[in-house]
Structures are given as structure tokens and as C-alpha cells.
Symmetry: C2
Subunit: 245 residues, 2 copies
Amino acid sequence: MAQSMSDTNCGECPIRHRAVCAKCDADELARLEEIKYYRNYEAGQPIAWAGDDLAFLGSVVRGVASISQTLEDGRTQMVGLLLPSDFIGRPGRGVSLYDVTAVSDVTLCCFRRRPFEQLLLNTPHVAERLLDMTLDELDAAREWMLILGRKTAREKIASLLTIIARRESVIGMRALKGPIAIDLPLTREAMADYLGLTLETVSRQISALKNDGVIFLEGKRRIQVPDFQELIAETGDDMDGGMVA
Amino acid sequence: MAQSMSDTNCGECPIRHRAVCAKCDADELARLEEIKYYRNYEAGQPIAWAGDDLAFLGSVVRGVASISQTLEDGRTQMVGLLLPSDFIGRPGRGVSLYDVTAVSDVTLCCFRRRPFEQLLLNTPHVAERLLDMTLDELDAAREWMLILGRKTAREKIASLLTIIARRESVIGMRALKGPIAIDLPLTREAMADYLGLTLETVSRQISALKNDGVIFLEGKRRIQVPDFQELIAETGDDMDGGMVA
DNA sequence: CGCCCGGTTGACTATGGTCAATACGTGTGG
DNA sequence: CCACACGTATTGACCATAGTCAACCGGGCG
């Protein structure tokens, strides 16, 4: 059973300063608070299927969710990875275009659609923040497209590890140099869906990076990186360009 | 030489109702008009390099531009294709993360960065429209990710053709059924950069679709499609899902 | 005319996919 | 306690798709 979250005051919310409400003042927060409620999902549960009505929009408070698309013959591609503070749903569209799935146990802070859309129109701080977050997602999608279109399997794995390490370091406020540990929130299959690979190739390339001493496994889901720079060198990214810095 | 565009009144602008200014009333339009100017680029010219300062934001009025990223060894991936009415640049970021290139002769309607950012804060109609356009771009990026990660070379080509056909049909307000013609704004190499392929594979798959009677070439850049549904069937997309409809 | 650019085609190869066997870890039930 | 099953992961053998390298085509232009 997913651990339930008691209704929390926004002031104590762990994502208060990174989510869509980040720029809100006390008054705006109060208005959001009126239309919000929490929902919990267990790992593996669907949050929405493509084509479903989605009655709410909201933020991931805890856990990890994925956004993915499927071709008619079953091939699937993950197109979004939602970590705490990320936003779910599109204002103005009541139907999900994507499958949204809880990857781990997830808590969402949900806003009823209509009131939230109304609030967007007269609460500039929410709209501004949502624009900023959407632009960030677009940048992330473009980095992801480079990975999908042009990187080798090994580079894809290294890139995914650095992406997760960076996001974990932001959330946990840890430093990103020298030796670090990465907790993978994804199965090998989910990593494959993220990277446009098969799970066998994911497994092989992780083994290869391990054999080459770039990473060490601690169980299947925890990865030790003795030298983060070395991992970055495996991503194929330009070390000087804006991407890495 | 690129055909120059005389300073045009917004009222006569061909993208007036689809660009970032779409929702503006006369007063708001006047404020935009104060900070706007036009720039022309010839086919092949850079509009910005990754890492450059980008002193303006703006809209594509005429022509086609690409957004792309390059790995240190030269592999490049297109991550955005800008057609008339599409927006260039990110408010709040003065430096381009991407290479932006004129694919054909291009005319931009440019806004000086600072005044435009100021205007965003007190002109909700512009901010709302920009959010909507950014969400559309994110959807397009996600469809693109599915193409890059999971589709075969033949499906990628068919997908690109349908995408261009759809965008041309919106711009030209033409119907999308039965026999249609597609004008490719891209070279084979640019198509390869779009799809994460080599230009040889692009050429081979176009030849294959031609040999199979799905398309007919009229010169190198114009493609006749006798039955658009047949082309869609080649994309691998779910024919019922939200994607195709 | 000859060059250059964009495009096509061919021969060969490499990367990653497929299919299948095996391993490992965890929870269930005898 | 062990046996077993299930889900997840690893590894191997083989194969298919797309990449590489190279030759060639054709139109436009100096």
C-alpha cells in the first residue's frame, strides 16, 4: 500500500519553492490551497491513459512518474520523466495525450482543472512559473532528442546517469563532483523506454561501463561513480558548450 | 539576395493570428509594434550559434529555420523546425543554447529582448499565447521523441512527410485527404538531421517509398502523395489514438 | 567546359535487436 | 526450513537495420 500523505499545509510542502506555486505570495497560495487535494499511487499504477479525461492538473510531491507513448504494435517510448515538483497535465486540454504511470510510489498535489485554469488567468505568478517550467521541459526534451537521435547505446546510458544524478543533486542539494552515488528510480526496461533501446542493450552497456571501471554496482539499483567527470566524458557531450556547464 | 521585407503594419502581417501576438488587442499590438523590427536571412545563414548572445526574440514571418545541437565530434541533431508564426528565443535567457539556422530565405519579426520581457509581465495576452505555443512545441517534441527513439527509417520518413504536410495544410488552409502535394523545405541532409539518420538512408527510404507507389517525386523537393491515408499507414502510428486524429 | 552541390546507388560493416538460456532476490506456501 | 514461482536482470549466439565509404549522376553557374 502506498504511504498516504495527510493534507499538508503548503508552508511545509517539500516542493513549495520549486513547483508551479514557487512564486506565489501568501494570498495566492491560499487560493491554490482551496482547490488542491492529494492523491497517492502505488508503483506501477496508471495515473492516466492516453485518451483519458484528466480531471486535474498537479504537481508530483513525492516519487517518480513517467509520461510515455505507444505505437500500435506495442513499441513504447518514454517522453517525460516526472520528479518531485514537476507538473502534470496541460491547461486547456481535458484529455491526456499520453500514458502517465507511477514509476515508484507517488504523491500528487492535484488542482481541479476548471478552477486552476481560471486561476491561471488572474494569478500571473502561477502563469509565469508555469511558462518557465514548460520552457525548462522543452530544453530537457531537446537534450533528450539529441540523445535519442545521435548517441550510441553507451553514450545514452552515461547521459541518463548524469541526468538523474543532476536532478537528484538539485533535489537533495548535494554536490556533483568526484565520487557520487546514484539511486536509479527506473527498472532496466524503463531505462530502455527512456533511451530508445532494448532492455538487453541497457543491461549490456551498464555491464560494460562497470567492467571499464566507470561505475560500480551496489545491488541493481544503486550506482557508485568514482569520478563524475569520467562519466560525463562518456556522454559524448561537448565539455565546453552550454550543455555540460 | 534575400528578398527584403518593408516594415509592415501588423494589421497586414501574414502571421498576425497565429504568432505570439495572436491574442493581442489593438492597444497591445501598438506596444509590440514599438519594439519590433524585421531581419532577413538568406538560406544557409546562421541566425545564432549555441553560446551566442541573442539580443532579440521574435517570430518567423516567412521561410523556414532550424534549431539544432551538435556533439563534440560533429554529430548533429535538429531539435526544432521553425515555420512561419513559430517563436525564436527564450524570455529570460540572453544566450542561445542552440544553433539556429535559416533553412530557406527567412524573415523574422524581432523584438528587443528587454522591452519584450517587460511587456510579457504586463501584457497577459502575450504571456498566455506564449505559454500555449510553448506547450504545443512540447507536444511536438514528444511526438518527435517517439519518432527518434522507436521508429524505423521508413516510418521516420513517412512521419516527417505527414508532419510537413499537416503544417503546410494549416498555413495554406488546404485539405488533407486523398491526393496531396508536399513541398519539402529541407535538403536530404537536413531531413537526416531531423530524423536521426544519415542522408544516404534518407535517400534510400524515399526511393523505397517511391518504388512502392506510396509517393511520387516531382523533382527532388516536391512530393506527390496519391493517398494520404496510405502514407499515414506507413508512419507506424496508432490510427485511432489522439496522435493521428 | 568543368566544377560544385545535392542526390542516388552499391558493397560492405557495425551496432544494436531478437530469441533464448540462465541467474538472482524476494515473497509464498508446504 | 526449504521448495518454488515470479519478476527483474544478465549473458550468449545470431541476425537485421542502418551506417560507412565510395562511385556516380545531373543541374546550375562561374
